[in-house]
């Protein structure tokens, strides 16, 4: 009896092993290695020099560096720009496409396409649109007498240009989530409001929006985590430039690690941003729970 149990155990472990190995090799080991590295000095251009322990020096450098704080600020600025517009646009479009009109199912599917494209491709598409001399965007703007705008080559416009591309790609995410939530709302309160004669705005403001709030917060939460790590689009469009105008956290880490070869500083910056994103998640979860509790009460 005892014998078979331990045998079953061993078989189970054998089956689990591949998954455990993969998880360890791809996630846990790199993370532990990065943590170890963040306390060392390691110059990748001189890989044979021993990795000296430097205590928290890398962390001190990251936290006191103008470039890191600037990258952090740029990341939050970009998040604020993209997420706010995405929520408003996404909810607005969701309200439109959930109307009972012919062809809306097709429209909804078409609107999802940007979300399904790899960010690198999105970056390339917008590179064509933004291209200083040959770009389509400036061509169309010139037709109405505007421009030319130095979309990705001026420090004033570059971050906005990135934001526009990101908004184009991720607004459908909010649209899809909100549309699904809208369709699950019970129709009776709307009929009650129709009989009572409440205005469309009041119905949206006091009936629809409060019921959508938990969904919108969840979507924001998912997008915020992703947006904090934004990399591909920026890498393709501006590589963090011009100057440091679009250098977000992940590009800062990349630059420290693979341009300046300072692996220890890059690793420390990674952990600082991990801590920041964890705080962000906690904050979002709290406010999500609060809004759901408010609905139930």
């Amino acid at each position: 009896m005892n014998h078979t149990v331990s045998r079953d155990r061993r078989i189970a472990l054998v089956f689990l092993l591949p998954a455990v190995v993969i998880l360890f090799v791809t996630t846990i080991y790199p993370m532990l290695y990065a943590l170890w590295l963040s306390f060392r000095s390691y110059d990748l251009s001189k890989p044979f020099i021993p990795r000296v322990f430097v205590g928290v020096a890398n962390y001190v450098e990251v936290l006191s560096s103008q470039a890191f704080l600037h990258a952090l600020l740029t990341t939050f600025k970009l998040m604020a720009m993209t997420l706010s517009v995405q929520v408003v646009l996404g909810v607005g479009i969701a309200l439109l496409v959930t109307q009972k009109l012919p062809g809306m199912a097709v429209v909804r599917t078409l609107l999802l396409i940007p979300m399904m494209i790899s960010p690198v491709i999105v970056g390339l598409v917008w590179l064509f649109l933004y291209f200083p001399e040959l770009g389509y965007l400036n061509y169309f703007l010139s037709l109405v007498g505007i421009g030319p705008v130095a979309w990705i080559t001026s420090t004033g416009w570059a971050l906005t240009a990135i934001a526009i591309a990101d908004i184009w790609q991720w607004t459908p995410f909010f649209m899809m989530g909100t549309a699904a939530a809208l369709q699950s709302l019970s129709p009776e309160p709307y009929e009650a409001a129709r009989i009572d004669g409440n205005s469309r705005f009041d119905v949206f403001r006091y009936i629809t929006l409060p019921q959508l709030k938990p969904v919108i917060i969840s979507l924001l939460f998912l997008r915020a985590i992703d947006a904090f790590k934004i990399y591909d689009i920026i890498f393709v469009l501006t590589k963090g430039g011009p100057a440091d105008a679009t250098e977000v956290i992940s590009l800062y880490i990349y630059r420290q690690s693979f341009t300046f070869w300072r692996m220890g500083v890059g690793a420390a910056a990674s952990f600082v941003s991990l801590i920041i994103i964890t705080i962000l998640i906690t904050f979002f979860f709290k406010s999500l729970q609060r809004s759901q509790a408010a609905l139930a009460r």
Partner: protein
């Protein structure tokens, strides 16, 4: 004066016609119940009156005004929904305020109406609660209060009690009756429950498959059903039916089935001729146990006795014909024996077997 009038009102969904030309007049202050089995078009009819569904054909008048193309909010109606349709994130008070918002009343008036409605429906201690914190019965009362504060000309109810348990249903039913008595406002009420209809209605409208089968007071539809459908739908337990044939006997016409026969009553003599198929209907309460050999009685076998306290239901059998009698519990026989039963001659209903219409 008529408060709501339907003239040949039709509802079609594409090719499918679900309400076939309904005519109905609802007097001011009346409590009218649309009664019928599920899917017969009650809700559709009510929603056309509310303006939530368009009217495909015919005319609808509310307070002597044709309102076919009038928006729901301008029809001076208020509706209470089956699942209450309360606004989930608003308190009870806010639910009522929101319903009043379009009327742009002075704050004092809003407060006065909410206070009044809450007092009548006993909602004062609940005003600060949200729907999720209320029981089903309380939610239903909030839904009624929300309809009431708008002081409509007509209240529309769609199966308001169907989500409540049996005990609460009786209680809220009584509250609806009291509310109607107190306010005197016209009510159009939809239900599939004949007891609700009987207890609440001034006038019952019995529907089937998008048609009206009979309109009448509870007494009328119970005592003189126009056809077999109404006869069996109204009353619980439902009316017993016997398939009979008209035969010529020595003393006149007789209705016979295998085990027993009854004489044809004189008003029907001229309508019936030998050979005609007739369905005889007798309510369980019109059957009593008779003394052995009593004239006009016949023998039946007692299969099962269901004791209900004051009364008992007897499941009886004559040959293969089963039927139910409702007798005083004290007089109930024991099962598996033969008893004499007597049909109250005044409680006999005759229907043409072919058309189902009363004779």
């Amino acid at each position: 004066m008529s408060s709501v009038t339907l003239r040949n009102v039709v509802k079609r969904y594409g090719q499918l016609e679900v309400v076939h030309g309904i005519n109905l007049e609802i007097d001011e202050g009346a409590f009218v119940v649309l009664l019928g089995p599920s899917g017969c078009g009650k809700t559709t009819t009510l929603r056309m009156v509310a303006g939530l569904e368009s009217i495909s054909d015919g005319q609808l008048e509310i307070a002597s005004r044709v309102v076919n193309d009038v928006a729901p909010k301008d029809r001076q109606i208020a509706m209470v929904f089956q699942n209450y349709a309360l606004y989930p994130h608003m308190t009870v008070r806010q639910n009522m305020e929101f319903a009043l918002k379009p009327q742009k009343l002075a704050d004092g008036e809003v407060d006065r109406r909410i206070t009044e409605a809450s007092r009548i429906l006993g909602l004062e201690p609940l005003l600060a609660r949200k729907p999720a914190q209320l029981s089903g019965g309380q939610r239903q009362r909030v839904a009624m209060a929300r309809a009431m504060v708008r002081t409509p000309k007509v209240f529309l109810f769609d199966e308001p009690l169907s989500n409540l348990d049996a005990k609460l249903r009786t209680q809220v039913r009584l509250e609806i009756a009291k509310l109607h008595k107190r306010l005197g406002t016209t009510v159009l009420y939809v239900t599939h429950d004949q007891i609700e209809a009987m207890t609440l209605a001034d006038k019952i409208v019995i529907m089937k498959d998008g048609h009206i089968e009979q309109v009448g007071s509870p007494e009328e539809v119970f005592a003189s059903p126009k056809n077999l459908f109404v006869a069996t739908f109204i009353g619980s337990p439902s009316m017993n039916l016997f398939q009979m044939t008209v035969e010529q006997a020595e003393l006149g016409l007789l209705l016979t089935s295998q085990p027993f026969s009854v004489p044809v009553p004189s008003p029907l003599l001229s309508k019936l001729s030998p050979g005609r198929q007739v369905t005889l209907g007798v309510r369980p309460s019109d059957i009593r146990i008779a003394a052995k050999g009593e004239p006009g009685s016949f023998e039946a076998r007692v299969d099962v006795v269901e004791y209900l306290g004051i009364e008992a239901l007897l499941n009886l059998r004559i040959g293969s014909q089963e039927f139910i009698a409702q007798v005083a519990a004290a007089e109930r026989p024991v099962p598996d024996q033969d008893v004499s039963v007597f049909f109250n001659p005044a409680g006999l209903h005759f229907f043409d077997s072919q058309s189902g219409q009363a004779l």
